[in-house]
Amino acid sequence: MYDHKTRILYVEDSLADINLFKEFIDDKVELTVVSDGQSAKSYLHRLKQTKSHFPNLIILDINLPEISGFELLNLIKKEQRLKFIPTVMFSSSDNQRDIKDAFSQAANGYVVKPGDLGDYSRAIETFMNYWVYTCKLPQEQ
């Protein structure tokens, strides 16, 4: 059932965070990392053009240069072909306003980057398990 690879798009500009993330995902995951909103846009556009597989999960940092995580979220959730891709905000901010903004723009989750590494690995494991393996999603995209 899980024979095909899990594809994750992670939009993050901090090298340290990218590195850390990589530490905690297994090799079954095909991870694409882009470091700004514009690259993320072009990446998704390219997938559409080439009719390639869309990612199973998109993880967005909020503070990104130029196009912010929220703008990207908005873009994804408005696009007919992308809107059902589980999109989780992954930020160091636990500001209520950010959290409210995320959910009111139809984010599928909001995770505050944990300080503790144990918590960090559990967080990634949990939301990946849920959105990629547990949750039933619409097929038509």
Binding site: D17, L20, L117
Partner: protein, 494 residues
């Protein structure tokens, strides 16, 4: 039948004024009772006395002799003289002499009425004093006191008008006060002061701007009083006005300063928020990598390197804690915490469940009255307040198991809560400073906090318009007391 003479005698005898009949030598021939009463001498003493009489004070002899002389010469008039009582006390009298003639028309005796003026003088003095006081007040008061017709026109004006308005009282009498009030305050004065006064509402007060004679504008603070006739109908109005121009300008300045202070305070808080918020991210990264480094490489470190690494690690942890607390503190000001009706029983239940592991670990006992009130406040902030106070009590426990009591009592304007413990207590001199930012008392190393817990408590209490303070608990430990105002309003904007 009563003889005329005896009737007269009885009347004279019983008059309240003194009566004395003297012969041409000035010796008493007859005196009434009042003469004795007034002077304090007995009738016998008086009848024995000859000029200078025993009730003539030595220093008045000249004056009295002169009066007697005039009388003897047939010049009858009233004399105001000073007599002396037997006790030595001098007192004023009004003496009114007249002649008594014999059948041949010769003057044989003189009769004098002697009126004791002591009481008259006393009352007169009192009246003079009163009049003087009123004059002094009226003439010298710094306030402007005016009487007005019902339509407002001046009936009388105190001299202070010169200083306050530049007009002399006589320049104002008969004129309409509305001439002098600044246009944009006319309606206010008419409605708030004049109409209220006419409706019989006393001591109404209003503040407005008026024009002085020289054209400068002053602020007046005026209070009214309505005078009523016996049918309770207003007859005239009295106003007392105080010039408050300087007060007003100070007030305006104060308000400006306050606004500025608020603005810069907000800026500072904003800065604290942004700084701590932005610092959090790199600090978390440091923390993450410190842990990752430890996981992957601690086995290859020698003792010295491990020691250095431990320093880095604990500093990173501490910085994160500080930043986190600073962030929480500066966030208290945001509108994130709406005020709603809060059931304090629920707050404390929530607090207990959040502190469960800490309470269990320290074997603490938490006791509180199950009849906590409902009040308006922020559920989240009030929970945090109790969590911080209880955590503080646990942190500073004595060698005994912590026993923490929470109680509440109602006062007129607030709810007063107390959190008492049996911990190490806080020395009197530190009881204020523990609430200051980043202030930390002695703790063991593993309890090291940022010292923000109590500062946050203070801030939360202040946001609920209350106060927080520490008292010693008997026989040991501390009692934290704080109030939450009963006058808070529920937030409407959320």
């Amino acid at each position: 039948m009563l003889s005329k003479v005896s009737t007269f005698k009885t009347v004279l005898e019983n008059l309240s004024d003194g009566i004395s009949i003297i012969d041409k030598e000035g010796k008493h021939v007859w005196i009434n009772k009042a003469m004795a009463t007034i002077t304090g001498f007995t009738k016998e003493e008086l009848l024995k006395s000859s000029p200078p009489h025993i009730y003539w004070p030595e220093e008045e002899l000249d004056t009295i002799m002169k009066a007697l002389g005039e009388t003897m010469e047939g010049k009858f008039r009233n004399f105001e003289l000073i007599f002396v009582r037997k006790s030595g006390v001098r007192f004023p009298v009004l003496v009114n002499p007249s002649p008594i003639e014999n059948d041949e028309g010769e003057v044989q005796y003189f009769v004098a009425t002697v009126k004791d003026l002591t009481e008259v003088r006393r009352v007169q003095h009192e009246l003079d004093d009163l009049a003087y006081n009123y004059r002094v007040l009226h003439d010298n008061t710094s306030e402007l006191i005016c009487r007005h017709e019902l339509d407002g026109r001046y009936k009388s004006v105190s001299p202070s008008s010169i200083r306050i308005t530049g007009y002399r009282p006589d320049e104002l009498i008969g004129r309409d006060p509305y001439e002098f009030i600044k246009e944009d305050h006319l309606e206010q004065v008419r409605q708030n002061l004049h109409e209220q006064a006419l409706a019989g509402n006393d001591l109404i007060r209003t503040q407005y701007e008026a024009k002085r004679k020289d054209g400068t504008i002053i602020w007046l603070d005026t209070i009214t009083k309505t005078l009523l006739d016996e049918n309770q109908k207003p007859t005239e109005l009295v106003t007392i006005s105080r010039e408050i121009t300087e007060l007003k300008s100070l007030q305006t300045k104060l308000e400006e300063n306050n606004r500025e202070l608020k603005r810069s305070n907000m800026e500072l808080e904003n800065f604290a928020y942004i700084a701590s918020h932005d610092l959090k991210e790199p600090l978390r990264t440091i923390d993450n990598y410190v842990q990752l480094f430890e996981m992957r490489y601690s086995h290859v470190l020698d003792d010295k390197a491990r020691q250095y690494f431990e320093f880095i690690k604990s500093s990173a942890k501490h910085s994160i804690q500080l930043t986190e607390d600073l962030l929480n503190y500066s966030r208290l000001n945001s509108s994130e915490f709406p005020y709603k009706e809060v059931d304090m029983n629920e707050v404390l239940e929530n607090v207990c469940s959040q502190l469960q592991s800490r309470i269990a670990k320290s074997q603490a006992k938490l006791v509180y009255d199950k009849n906590m009130p409902s009040l308006v406040g922020s559920h989240i902030l009030l929970s945090r307040l109790f969590i911080n106070l209880i955590a503080n009590s646990i942190k500073f426990k004595s060698e005994e198991k912590p026993l923490i009591r929470i109680a509440v009592k109602e006062t007129i304007n607030a709810w007063q809560f107390s959190v008492s413990d049996n911990g190490v207590g806080i020395p009197k001199k530190s009881r204020k400073e523990v609430f200051e930012i980043f202030r930390r008392l002695r703790t063991t190393d593993d309890e090291k906090g940022s010292g923000m817990g109590l500062t946050i408590c203070k801030r939360i209490v202040e946001k609920h318009q209350g106060e927080i303070w520490i008292e010693a608990n008997e026989p040991k430990g501390s009692t934290f007391k704080f109030t939450i105002s009963k006058h808070l309003k529920e937030s409407t904007n959320v």
